[in-house]
Point group: C2
Chain length 361, copies 2
Amino acid sequence: MILDRFKVPEKDQVLVQEAALRRTVAQIFEKLGVTPEDAADGADVLTMADLRGVETHGVSNMLRQYVRDYKAGKLSPKPGWSIVRQSPGTAVIDAERRLGVIVGPKAMRLAVEKAKQVGVGVVTVFNSGHFGAIGHYAMQAAEQDMVGVCFTGAGLSVVPTFASKPLLGTNPIALAAPARHEAPMLFDAATSAIAGNKIRLAIRLGSPLLPSWVTDKDGTPIMEEKPVFDRDDFFQAPLGGTREQGSHKGYGFALMAEVLSTVLSGAVPTMLVQGSGSKNHFAAYDIEAFTDLEHFKDTMDQMLKTLRTAPPAPGHDRVLYPGLSEAEELAKRRAKGVPLHKEVIEWFGQCTRELGVAPLV
Amino acid sequence: MILDRFKVPEKDQVLVQEAALRRTVAQIFEKLGVTPEDAADGADVLTMADLRGVETHGVSNMLRQYVRDYKAGKLSPKPGWSIVRQSPGTAVIDAERRLGVIVGPKAMRLAVEKAKQVGVGVVTVFNSGHFGAIGHYAMQAAEQDMVGVCFTGAGLSVVPTFASKPLLGTNPIALAAPARHEAPMLFDAATSAIAGNKIRLAIRLGSPLLPSWVTDKDGTPIMEEKPVFDRDDFFQAPLGGTREQGSHKGYGFALMAEVLSTVLSGAVPTMLVQGSGSKNHFAAYDIEAFTDLEHFKDTMDQMLKTLRTAPPAPGHDRVLYPGLSEAEELAKRRAKGVPLHKEVIEWFGQCTRELGVAPLV
């Protein structure tokens, strides 16, 4: 559910078909040394983000950074990974500088395997590159009739309540659960007032930021709406914005993600070692270990339908649940194509030429 | 970390010692038919909430309701419980109308046992009474060198973003993790803008509610600060308050708690069946299954100390982390006593007289 101010203006849109996007992204990964299997996984994560309308985490914002990091040797394209420790229900993975969107699908597959054995599986990953939209991994579990949960600890952009400098990342939390006729529940939210990538998007689109989304360089929440030109002019606020509006809860959720991903994988938070990469927590709960799958899906359907059909407050058209607009966008974009900004298309043109890949459009 | 406006005014305080409070609360439970062992567990949960300064969930707000519900036969005092389904890492418990503060400690003990076997343990509980401050159960796991996590689905007071009526409870989420010299991390937050019990407390103390904490009876967030006299005059807003400030995230966290506690225990959310009781999710992660315990504690210490000693923003004295003020209150109140409102002391006098229990003070 993205605010209108963050959508690509229609005049700047170029529609790209799913198959073309997947193919080109996978070919770019392969040219950078990634195996075809891993490249397909990575292309799936990015393409699905764009198909679900989560363009902040799709090809537009992220792919060019990944390409830069592979070229600079910051990311390793080699296959496999290193299991540092494991038990029947858990595993800890050293990603050895592999890209998160390539390690993530494998990590959730391992969590699902463990959940099949003992009811619940938890896999933590450290020392990796960016994970994209982590809701995607939660959805992997939902597609296997499990509840999927993810936490990420990464970055240094969010100012804890009452502090004067950023000590935490936007540390997102995601959950997905299957339903029957309703779209699956898919919740994926940064624990900051807004996602970090939304600021980049706002700068590109010339949209102003709203009150208490960000703080001054001394940590004081900015309470007026103003346009942004330079990301370095401010820090991000936790969800809630101010203490009175609950920023200590957003801060707490960020720290919760940090403990479950970073500290529980034996890694150190970015506040202690900068550039220590992204850390993630992948959990799968086997629904059948808890209750009858069909009963679970029926209850999800009734709950989600009750939310979807609830009478809206004055001035609003309808009530959404997490995952509903994503499912609607998915259907629409699979039929019509993904609207990319013409500037992104230009980047693709340049990138594919440089790497010797067939053009996207 | 409670706002000043919610503290008991000094002139109305009566200081009560920990041992006296534990003893009287346990004796009240026993008089209501609860076994001594269960009564001690329940008294521990309530007394620890008051000792940690979480008076919204201590004896003041909750105990009288529990006593009423036992007397009315809404709560069952009988020992034991019913395990509906289990696997090596998971269990589902039908609490059969037992009180949450009595079932909760046993549920987390079972989760810890399972985590010792397979690395992670998850226990869901349905059909129970109120669980009090769920951070307490997370702390049980932390005291066993595990990370403890809890989710609750209960009640019908929070309006989903864009909706016109409440469909979710305040559905809190909690995490506790051990450190070495620093106080353990203890995060426990309602996913609503403020906890439900804070409204009761605000009414008793005559404090106004702040903008976007609550909505009109048509679901529109109230944006001015105003005093409250009647809980029925408004509904609660999700964390974030308005869509622009991220209420869809607070709403999503509430639904996350609902799925992990209610739907994953095979129960139905309160929005579908009113009076269906409280549902909870208890998770324990065995730190040694993931990484070296000593390394984990060192990292927690470094992280929490970095937060605690971070330079504060202008106008603020210091930066807190979740659990710090609770640990400070615990030390202070263990030494000096718990400050209860004189009106609460009066209730204790009446309750102990009626039940034939020795007076609290």
